[in-house]
């Protein structure tokens, strides 16, 4: 059997008429008519992407301004460039994917899981290359403090991000939550790089990077619970 014969069989089957009944179409029309007010389409994707990136940056800066920019001041220039360039690129990719997740039928450059893996690997790699202090002091206690600070910043960024995307509609709330968590987690890491002065390699690689997957996981769980709640109702 050749592909052309399968095509022919499919085309033959598709030609078989199966119209939706005119009464049904009339009923559908009548059901939407009462609420048929003009709506404003979503702004272009690049505008929403830019707003999301700016919000992430603004939240990280606001938290860092309150806590102090000690980490940024202590970093040398090449480290500043490498870390913040990586964060900027990853944030742009995450914001672009988040807008796509909240707009049905959008083109995607990467998958949510791929983005999360890339963000974790890139940040972990950059930190491992830049930080050479291999001492380990108060690993867990100082690490937990950084993780919680980063997650608090991420939560604030996520809330504002959701407000920006309130007119959108996520086809899959789990993956939309995962991407929202990844983007806000990157805001949390930005805050830690601006504020934290603990330059022990293991501390930065483990605890600072961990903010992204933990935040993404929390976003996915939140999305799953919303989706399940809607499905049950």
């Amino acid at each position: 059997m050749r592909d052309a014969e399968i095509d022919e069989a499919l085309d033959r089957a598709v030609r078989e008429p199966r119209p939706a009944s005119p009464e049904l179409l009339k009923r559908i029309g009548e059901s939407i008519e009462p609420s048929l007010e003009p709506v404003r389409p979503l702004p272009p994707a690049w505008i929403l992407t830019a707003i999301l990136v700016l919000i992430s940056l603004a939240v990280a800066l606001a938290f860092a301004a309150r806590a102090g920019l000690h980490g940024f001041e202590a970093l040398d220039v090449p480290a500043r460039v490498a870390i913040f360039a990586a964060l900027a690129v990853l944030s742009c990719l995450a914001a672009e994917l988040l807008v796509a997740e909240w707009t049905p039928g959008s083109r995607r450059r990467s998958t949510p899981a791929g983005l999360l893996a890339m963000a974790s690997v890139v940040l972990g790699g950059v930190f491992a290359l830049l930080f050479r202090d291999h001492r380990v002091e108060h690993f867990v206690s100082s690490g937990i403090a950084c993780l919680l600070t980063g997650l608090a910043c991420a939560a604030a960024a996520a809330l504002l991000g959701l407000w920006v995307m309130r007119r959108g509609w996520a086809v899959n709330r789990v993956t939309a939550g995962l991407v929202a968590g990844t983007l806000s987690g990157l805001a949390g890491v930005t805050l830690l790089e601006l504020h934290c002065t603990n330059f022990e390699a293991l501390h930065v690689v483990v605890w600072h990077t961990l903010v992204v997957p933990v935040s993404a996981g929390a976003g996915a769980i939140f999305g799953w619970s919303v989706q399940r709640g809607r499905a049950l109702s």
Binding site: M1, D3, E5, I6, A9, L10, D11, A13, V14, E16, R18, P19, A20, S21, L24, L25, R27, I28, G29, S31, I32, E33, S35, L36, E37, P38, V39, R40, P41, L42, P44, A45, E101, W102, T103, P104, G105, S106, R107, R108, R167, G168, W169, V171, N172, T175, R230, A231
Partner: protein
């Protein structure tokens, strides 16, 4: 679509009339009956209507419509799966198992033709063949890459080739002339 977004009821009605037949067929693949498909079509349109602001004028319409319809279909599938799991009895299970052992029959309707395929393969072929969407549009509607869609089509054709060859072989053995 832009006129529908602007609140034009005539444009909305024209859009419903134009898209619904293919959409109905797409949704029917998941349902036991035509009336279920009717309900799903109505549900899909209500959802399309609720989120109509998410369509950006100038972009392809079908990927947007099918992405929403696909979600409606998935939600319906999960809901019916939950209720079926609650209600299904052992005798029904054995009846299903017996049905699956019957010999393949020649398929004439699209639903019969696509029956041997997995849900995702069937969905992709329906979008390509029934809705007439391009690979790129199907990728957008299913939130996946063009490569992944191509792979699903390739696997679907391989499976169809096997099942249709089996039917041809049986016809040859029994001497049945269609």
């Amino acid at each position: 679509m832009a006129r529908y977004q602007a609140g034009d009821f005539v444009a909305a009605r024209a859009l419903i009339k134009r898209i619904s037949p293919a959409l109905h067929r797409f949704l029917h693949a998941q349902c036991k009956s035509v009336s279920d498909a009717d309900d799903l079509l109505q549900e899909a349109w209500l959802r399309i209507h609720r989120v109509r602001q998410t369509y950006r004028p100038g972009k392809a319409l079908l990927p947007w419509v099918y992405a929403i319809a696909r979600r409606v279909r998935i939600d319906h599938y999960r809901k019916s799966l939950r209720s079926t799991m609650r209600e299904q009895r052992w005798d029904e299970l054995s009846a299903t198992a017996a049905d699956s052992l019957t010999q393949p029959q020649p398929a004439d309707t699209l639903e019969e033709l696509l029956a041997p395929l997995s849900e995702s393969q069937r969905e992709v072929l329906e979008m390509l063949k029934v809705a007439g969407m391009s690979l790129e549009e199907v990728a957008q509607a299913t939130s996946s890459s063009v490569g992944s869609v191509k792979q699903k089509v390739h696997r679907a054709y391989r499976k169809l080739r096997q099942s249709m060859s089996l039917v041809e072989l049986r016809k040859g053995q029994t001497g049945v002339v269609p």
